[in-house]
Amino acid sequence: PAAPPHRAGWSPRSPCPASAGCVPVTQATPTPSRAVMSSPCDARALTTRCAVAMAAGDTGYRKERSVPLKSSSSALYNNLSVLPLRDKQLTYFAAVHGSTVSLASASADGLSVSHRQLQAKEGGLAVSASIVTQASWCVLPSRVLLVLTSQKGIQMYESDGSIMVYWHALDVLEPPPAQAVFARGIAAASGRFICVGTSSGLVLVFDIPSKGTNITLSEVLEEHRDSITDIASEVGENPDGDADLVTADDSGALCVWRSKEEFSLLTKISAFGWTCSSVKLWNGVIAAGYGNGQIRLYEAMSGALRATVSAHARWIYALDLAPLTGKLLSGAEDSYVQIWKLSRSPDTGDIEIEHCHSECVTDTQLCGARFCDPEGNAFAATGYDLSEIVRYGQV
């Protein structure tokens, strides 16, 4: 491996070393507090840094044994969930296929795998099979629940999928609307809630008792006007404020929430024309993945954009974050998983990102990708039509 990742800062005296590869950028709306620039390499404007992160400092991962699935994965956003069980030396995986969720429980070496399949629940008088949109484990202090969202409603199970503990049916509208109806976007929040999004833009907040089935819908958040795609809660420590939750929608708009006693909206981040399919929140930093292959980093409290990364050539389908190290992974239709490292400059407090690793899953449009541990030493991914979960571990 060559020199460590290089971040080029520049001053009026030293020109940006990456100027040869720079593409002129147009500022959409100039902000009053900063200079408007036509080229990022204008040495007179000190308010902007252009940084090029090199892959030379590759932190190596190598391919490990894949985990087979009982059914192939569907092309849905965030279509892989992972639950590491350290004490049992097992890892649970979940991926969605049509109206079924495939669960696989794998030993550490991947040699011993057991399977279970869960079905979408048909609602009331329904005559058509309901498609599952997402399956995700929600880790709360006292319990872990597996949540399934579908066209008919929301199912919650014990973490091994053995018992369904709660069912919430989505409102049936008569006459049936021309738009699709479904639930999508799942996250645990503040140690006591599970938040689930809907196709109409609502975020349903469920109060989860420490045990038992007495789960209740406690609040409905109405800020989004487009279908919810993903929800994320703060997985690190927020240094400056109390932004606990971020919700994303099909138009690309993001809402940032506080959830102390009641949920309140802190800030809204406008869409720029592309779907935000996946979102993560860590130490007050929002990482959002978009349909044009970009990852954008924002300050959660203010909503200010801090970085734009041309991460992928096609639609991003998954992001994940390892909270103990700040590693970020992105998976997209372009067949690539990219691993990044988020950090804050100790001097300026600025958000920084550098690229660590690239992995190509040949001939596969990735639809799900997750770290398998909170340090980010291993990650897993699956793709459309793939009947396995590919895994990589740090060398």
């Binding site: 500022q27 959409a28 990022p40 090029v52 498609i131 487009d226 779907t275 990219q338 001939d363």
Partner: protein, 345 residues
């Protein structure tokens, strides 16, 4: 043997048949009643339902196909469309693919103004309905279509030859320029990257730019598909092929309305029939029918397009009784009757 009967080759021998067949199929498919039903917002069809409609359309002319050839044609169509949907670089491109299909159809019937008008009318309805959808909404449509095509890995000769499909039936995905080791990071607060790609036209007439959806057989090619080995990789059970279930009743409702708009052609005594065989010989076709793997058989609702069945008054009465209604429970008993009748055909 590469002597499959494709329109291009057949034209050398039977020009008038081709014209008649194309006209009839396109006229039938684009008739007002059928299109009205298609444009209604509804769930994705099951594989069984789609195959049934396809069979019916294929019998809209004097052309006939045996089961094996019909299966093969359907396999080809499905895998080709799966390829087109999967590889669309941008989600809105799936609309351009449809426009490419329509452009090609219009070319077949360019000398028949009446049918051309019908197709243009459908074109306009598509533009009205879909042009304003966002990239996110198109991606949802694409994701839903991909669920339909999931686990289908039938190998198609032309795709294998062109190296767009591997020998295991999976499509080759072009890798974009990742030789760039530099991941461009821009620390700023605003600004956008201008995409240099040319976008295709979404108008009634225009350069679509996208090649997906244009005629795969513009140069004469073999039309083989391969069954062997395809079944080994099936990891999922489709519940579709099970005995009649509640799903089937609602679908039959829909199918009955849809088919109401599709007239089938009955070959009369004076006109010779025309049977299309997609295999080299009749024996090969029979053999293919016998050896098709169980999990790949399309257990269609077999509405035989023969004179006898369609003169069956009972069936005609039941079909005529279906009204456009959104209350599936009302038609439950009728659905049962029709279902039972279909199974006997």
């Amino acid at each position: 043997g590469k002597t499959a009967l494709l329109p291009q080759r057949t034209a050398l021998l039977m020009g008038s048949f081709v014209f008649a067949v194309m006209n009839d199929i396109i006229t039938t498919m684009f008739n007002k009643k059928f299109m009205e039903e298609l444009f209604k917002p509804q769930e994705l069809y099951s594989k069984k339902a789609l195959r049934t409609v396809y069979d019916r359309l294929a019998h809209a002319s004097i052309m006939r196909l045996n089961q094996a050839s019909m299966d093969k044609l359907y396999d080809l169509m499905t895998m080709a469309f799966k390829y087109q949907v999967l590889l669309c670089p941008r989600s809105k491109d799936i609309l351009l693919v449809t426009f490419n299909h329509l452009d090609a159809i219009k070319d077949f019937i360019r000398d028949s103004p009446n049918i051309l008008n019908q197709v243009d009318e459908t074109f306009r309805q598509l533009i009205d309905m879909y042009s304003c959808l966002s990239a996110g909404e198109f991606q949802l449509i694409r994701q839903t279509l991909l669920i339909f095509f999931q686990d289908m890995h039938i190998r198609v000769s032309i795709f294998l030859k062109d190296k767009v499909q591997n020998s295991n039936g999976r499509f080759v995905l072009p890798i974009s320029d990742h030789s760039l080791l530099f991941k461009r990071v821009e620390f700023t607060n605003g600004g956008s990257y201008i995409s240099p790609q040319r976008e295709g036209s979404f108008d009634l007439y225009g350069d679509r730019v996208l090649k997906l959806g244009t005629n795969m057989y513009s140069v004469s090619r073999p039309v083989e598909t391969h069954m062997s080995g395809a079944s080994k990789n099936l990891a999922s059970h489709t519940k579709e092929n099970a005995a009649p279930n509640p799903l089937a009743k609602e679908e039959l409702n829909f199918l009955a309305r849809l088919m109401g708009g599709l007239e089938i052609k009955k070959p009369n005594g004076s006109e010779p029939g025309f049977r299309l065989n997609l295999f080299t010989t009749d024996e090969e076709e029979e053999y293919a029918a016998l050896t098709r793997p169980e999990e790949l058989s399309y257990k269609v609702i077999n509405i035989q397009a023969t004179q006898d069945q369609w003169q069956n008054e009972e069936l005609a009465r039941i079909m005529g009784e279906f009204e456009v209604t959104d209350q599936p429970s009302q038609s439950t008993s009728k659905g049962d009757d029709l279902l039972a009748m279909m199974d006997e055909l």
